[in-house]
């Protein structure tokens, strides 16, 4: 069991009817008791049975009334964290919620780190790996490729750049070390000047990456939604509609979109990165085939699949086949061209999915991208999915971005130190100390560097209060 008691706002930051403040730890009940007063002005939470709800109010230190609340007491081990937990349900509103949290912190709790509640649940053995779905997702991401920083959030080109930066650094280190061990065959004459140029180039690249980090472009900062479907069902039209402008080229010719078009936009203030992809079919030529492969890759990395089909033709085996390739993805099926003569209906599609997609619940919507019909219903649906927690929240993006930025800055500092060593005429073997530091810092971005505080890191990816 952990010693200290933590507290945080467990509900989202958005304005809502109710906010919940969660307190967990040995002192949870007595801390809550200090700030919570019953109807008759008494402090009684300490004495209540577990899993009971109590009405009362929160007063500030100088006895000013803050809010009327409900307090739920859940004693160890039957609680989210397996510790003593008190949840205080107050009336929403950021100011009031924050003031209550502040009172609880003043009463002796510590502000929870992101994900710390889940971490405690995990470490206290309340949830195990197979049960903790969120943990599993992270681990799966890890086993498949490169773990912790959720590589999939990295824009593809960033990973390539980091890999090539690392390769250059490793190559130089290897050269220096070969020369130390085999001076007969590896000559270091004039090498420092050469390394200076290489370090300059590396620094330029890292600095430009840092600049993109500041602009928020390092990671796809938003929910990655991929528009997928057979050719010529109106995917590009749909994207243009969401964007409100003509970005994607739209023709009647199937297979017009060959590469991925990536656009940022917000839907009801939720940030999205939407990708328009090539229609999936047995490709006719090489270029189109590459487009199709890329579409599949993008879909595999997506947070949400927007599957577009065309009501004028039948929702057939090919559609079901594509959908079945991504069984674990959140999906929305959009039946386009509802303005034209329909060959099928929403109802039929729902039934086909029920029969073929092993009971998966996939929302189905009819739209007309051309006539802007059904788009609001689509927006409603997306917003609902977000608030029900089916889609990742922006906290995660923010944290990942910050971490990458830190690592890049460290790498830059190390390379500057290499240049300083060159300037100071240090012997070559000194260069490799800082080169290796730079190498390791960059490795953290792509998960190639093992860190001992992994568990911390994993749980830090969860939002505050979770």
């Amino acid at each position: 069991m952990m010693r200290d008691t933590i507290a945080a706002v467990a509900t989202g930051r958005n304005a809502s009817g109710i906010s919940i403040i969660r307190v967990s730890g040995q002192e949870a009940v007595s801390i809550a008791d200090r700030v919570f007063v019953g109807k008759n002005g008494s402090h009684f939470l300490k004495n209540v049975p577990t899993h009971t709800v109590h009405y009362g109010k929160i007063l500030s230190e100088d006895e000013v009334f803050l809010d009327e609340v409900l307090a739920i007491v859940m004693r160890s081990p039957k609680s989210y964290t397996a510790e003593d937990v008190v949840e205080i349900h107050c009336h929403g509103g950021i100011t009031v919620t924050n003031m209550i949290l502040e009172q609880i912190l003043k009463a002796g709790a510590r502000l929870a780190e992101p994900g710390e509640f889940t971490k405690r649940a995990f470490l206290n053995g309340r949830i195990d790996l197979s049960e903790a779905e969120a943990v599993m997702d992270v681990i799966d991401a890890g086993s498949k490729a490169a773990v912790r920083n959720s590589e999939k959030q990295l824009a593809g080109h960033l990973k390539q750049q980091i890999l090539s930066l690392r390769e250059t650094i490793l190559h130089q280190t290897a050269f220096i070390e070969s020369a130390l061990d085999d001076p007969e065959h590896f000559d270091l004459t004039d090498y420092p000047a050469k390394l200076k140029d290489i370090a300059d180039a590396l620094l330029d690249q890292i600095r430009s990456l840092l600049k993109s980090a500041d602009e928020g472009k390092l990671i796809s900062e938003g929910i990655r939604a991929v528009i997928l479907g057979k050719p010529n069902v109106g995917k590009s039209t749909f994207l243009n509609l969401l964007l409100g402008q003509q970005k994607a080229i739209v023709t009647d010719i199937a297979g017009t979109t060959r590469d991925i078009l990536e656009e940022r936009l917000t839907i009801r203030d939720i940030p999205f990165v939407i990708m328009d992809t090539a229609g999936i079919r047995e490709a006719q030529d090489v270029v189109e085939k590459i487009g199709v492969d890329r579409a599949r890759e993008a879909a595999a990395d997506a947070d949400l699949l927007l599957y577009l089909s065309d009501l004028t033709s039948e929702f057939d085996g090919a559609d079901l086949q594509i959908l079945s390739e991504y069984p674990d993805k959140k999906k929305i099926i959009l039946l386009n061209k509802s303005d034209l003569d329909a060959a099928g209906s929403e109802q039929e599609v729902r039934e086909k999915i029920r029969e073929n997609c092993s009971g998966e619940e996939i929302p189905v919507l009819s739209i007309s991208a051309r006539n802007n019909v059904g788009i609001d219903a689509f927006r409603d649906l997306v917003e609902k999915m977000f608030f029900e927690g089916h889609l990742p929240s922006s906290d995660e993006f923010y944290i990942t971005n910050l971490r990458h930025k830190e690592a890049l800055m460290e790498a830059a500092t190390s390379l500057e130190k290499v240049e300083e060593s060159i300037r100071m005429d240090m012997p070559e073997d000194f260069y490799s100390i800082d080169l290796m530091d730079a190498y390791m810092s960059l490795g953290r971005i792509i998960g190639e560097q093992i860190e001992d505080d992994l568990v911390e890191e994993i749980f830090s990816k969860f939002c505050m209060g979770k």
Partner: protein, 686 residues
């Protein structure tokens, strides 16, 4: 030493096993060391000096501490190993100090991390001197015999990865049995050895010595995996047939630094001999290329894998095809002999090709070969079957050291021999084993690489293998490892006290230098300009001045008038003259001086000058230690960890690493696998 009760118990245990007879027993001891090479000597001394009854077996008493290849000790990174071994209480450093004929600090123009000592040895003197030490060490017996079999008893409830066996003795070729509690295997290149010189193949060990042909089977019977390695040596030539006027002479240092921390530096300043440098040329390479089909390696006769970093001349010509020439070092084998070693040109080509090829080299045109170059093939074990203590995982009381573990080189062997000997002794004494990690010494890097990475060729120590080499300098091996040597029972109180005092003086002096300020007054500016150093802009600390490349602790003495007087205890010194047979360490001359000795001044300079780098490297070590200190439970079941990839699971299961750090260095285990493992452990623990 065993008491009567322990003897009786050992005999009773031996006789309990069916077929064993009392008349087979020759002796009952604590420790048996199999092999009397550089590893065996260190292991036997470590055991005997810890008071254990020790027998060292060798196929030939005349070949104890033999140098069958190059006539030198040390060299890049190997020199570090010798200094570490010395700090731990080993013998090799002291022995080379007594018998060297030339000494040189390599890479002196580079950073202090890569400075490395190398000394040319008088081979005969080296061998004789080591034998004298062994013969005069209490509790140590030498026995000329081939060890054929390891005798074990079963132990119940053996843990995972253990064969459930414990060593109780060894059997020699005569059938005789030496009962013991621990065995160190240091068989060098003798197991099923085969020497190849072109088409001529002899089933012998190095230098025509008898091979050991039985022990491999006994190891296999215990379930130990055997591999086959190869190494080689160049020709030896008659000095009178060489023309040294066509070569560049290579001299030793004017001021020699001893290998041993307990050798009086004044005692090693002596007359030195020269080595010579010459080069191969296109003609040499042509002859080699034209006869590659007669090389046993290229003809496929040799099965063993050779060392990439100590290649034969055939390998060099093939691998560096665009190189016009390769270095050849002509080095004396000793003061007593005319034989010269031809460094850089080891070969397994036939005699006639060797002669033709050597004779193309300037200065060797009329060379007469005394001993041909040859390659040697031998059995060794997969060292991943060992713990970091060099104990076998599968058999209690069994240790491996040197070439049997897949290493190459005298220094690598000696360092392992010392560690294996220490741990065999600790095992017999019921004490905690000694281990050294990658941040503590080259020896730690060597052992960790051997037991963690699957070495597919003879392992040679190299500077680049040590990640934290700025901290692992040859000049501070005593500061790093004396304490461990003391715990291992091989370093005296006196030596330990000296090192502690040395460290405390360094710390105090560095602290004083970083807090003592000098102002930018006229006298100071004048002084700096007299040393071609830039004038001061503001007041600065003495340490900052020392960190300027052109200044040093000694050179700024005039502007540091208040240097404290340190009263030093005398350095404990190993006497080179008189009765040094026992290899004991006596107190040196009592002297109390104001000025600090050169080794302490050197430490101060390095600590101050490279402060920033040292600090960054220490930070890297912190990260490393965190992973090393995350220990994996011994009874962990890798089958139980569902998210682990199959390859990682197999590798982890086979090696059973002690820590997350070690697990992360296994090839085929990815960072993602480590994450899975970490999470599994974290949860299992709470």
């Amino acid at each position: 030493m065993l008491n009567e009760e322990a003897r009786k118990l050992a005999i009773a245990n031996f006789l309990k096993i069916e077929g064993h007879r009392e008349r087979e027993i020759r002796d009952v001891v604590d420790l048996c060391v199999v092999g009397g090479g550089h590893a065996g000597c260190e292991a036997a001394l470590a055991g005997a000096r810890n008071g254990l009854a020790t027998v060292m077996f060798t196929v030939s008493v005349d070949s104890i501490a033999l140098m069958p290849c190059n006539p030198n000790v040390g060299g890049s990174s190997k020199g570090h190993l010798v200094r570490e071994l010395d700090a731990l209480g080993g013998e090799m450093g002291r022995n080379i100090d007594k018998t060297f004929i030339q000494s040189k600090m390599l890479n002196a123009s580079k950073g202090p991390a890569v400075h490395s000592l190398r000394a040319q040895a008088d081979k005969q003197a080296y061998t004789r001197s080591m034998r004298k030490v062994l013969e005069n060490t209490d509790n140590l017996m030498i026995k000329q015999a081939e060890v054929c079999e390891l005798i074990t008893e079963d132990i119940p409830d053996a843990p995972k990865g253990h064969a459930g066996k414990r060593i109780i003795g060894v059997r020699i070729a005569s059938g005789g049995v030496y009962l013991c509690r621990a065995v160190v295997l240091s068989t060098g290149t003798y197991l099923n050895a085969r020497c190849l010189c072109g088409e001529m193949i002899t089933h012998t060990g190095p230098n025509g010595l008898m091979a050991a042909t039985h022990l491999t089977d006994s190891l296999r019977a215990l379930g130990i995996e055997i591999v086959r390695f190869k190494t080689g040596t160049p020709a030896r030539m008659d000095k009178r047939s060489l023309d040294f006027s066509k070569m560049q002479p290579q001299y030793g240092d004017e001021r020699v630094v001893p290998f041993s921390f307990s050798t009086d530096p004044e005692a090693v300043q002596k007359e030195q001999v020269a080595c010579y440098l010459t080069y191969t040329n296109e003609k040499t390479h042509e002859i080699i290329k034209a006869n590659l089909d007669r090389s046993p390696i290229y003809a496929g006769i040799i099965e063993g894998t050779g060392p990439r970093y100590c290649p034969s001349i055939e390998d060099k010509v093939v691998k560096f095809a665009d190189k016009e020439r390769h270095q050849v070092f002509i080095e004396p084998e000793g003061l007593y002999t005319n034989e010269m070693y031809v460094g850089g040109m080891s070969s397994s080509l036939p005699e006639d090709v060797q002669l033709a090829m050597y004779r193309t080299v300037p200065g060797l045109e009329n060379c007469r070969i005394v001993r041909n170059a040859y390659a040697i093939e031998y059995d060794c074990i997969k060292a991943t079957q060992l713990h970091h203590t060099l104990a076998f995982k599968a058999v209690d009381g069994l240790y491996g050291a040197g070439q049997i573990n897949g290493s190459s080189g005298y220094e690598e062997a000696a360092a392992q021999g010392l560690l294996a000997g220490i741990n065999a002794a600790m095992y017999c004494l019921g004490k905690k084993p000694i281990t050294i990690d990658r941040s503590e010494g080259y020896l730690g890097v060597l052992v960790d690489d051997l037991v963690t990475k699957e070495t597919r060729e003879p392992y040679r120590m190299m500077t680049s293998r040590a990640e934290y080499r700025l901290l692992l300098r040859q000049d501070n091996a005593d500061l790093r490892l004396r304490q461990k040597g003391y715990e291992a029972g091989l370093v005296s109180e006196r030596e330990l006290a000296y090192v502690k005092e040395k460290q405390s003086i360094i710390d105090k002096e560095v602290e004083r230098l970083s807090t003592t300020m000098v102002g930018a007054g006229a006298a100071i500016q004048e002084f700096l300009s007299s040393l071609d150093s830039a004038p001061l802009k503001t007041a600065t600390s003495l340490a900052e001045l020392i960190s300027r490349p052109e200044l040093s602790y000694e050179s700024i003495a005039p502007i540091d008038p208040n240097r404290p007087e340190y009263v030093l205890k005398a350095r404990p010194v190993y006497r080179l003259t008189g009765d040094e047979n026992r290899g004991t360490v006596e107190a040196g001359e009592e002297k109390s001086k104001q000025t600090l000795p050169e080794d302490i001044i050197r430490q101060i300079d390095i600590t101050v000058k490279y402060d920033g780098y040292i600090r960054r490297q220490k930070k890297q070590v912190e990260g490393f230690k965190k992973l090393e200190n995350k220990l994996i439970d011994e009874d962990i079941d890798y089958q139980d960890i569902k998210n682990l990839r199959l390859e990682a699971r197999q590798k982890l299961e086979a090696l059973r690493p002690v820590s997350i750090g070690q697990a992360s260095r296994i090839s085929g285990v990815s960072p993602a696998d480590i994450s899975v493992l970490l999470i599994y452990m974290e949860q299992r623990r709470s």
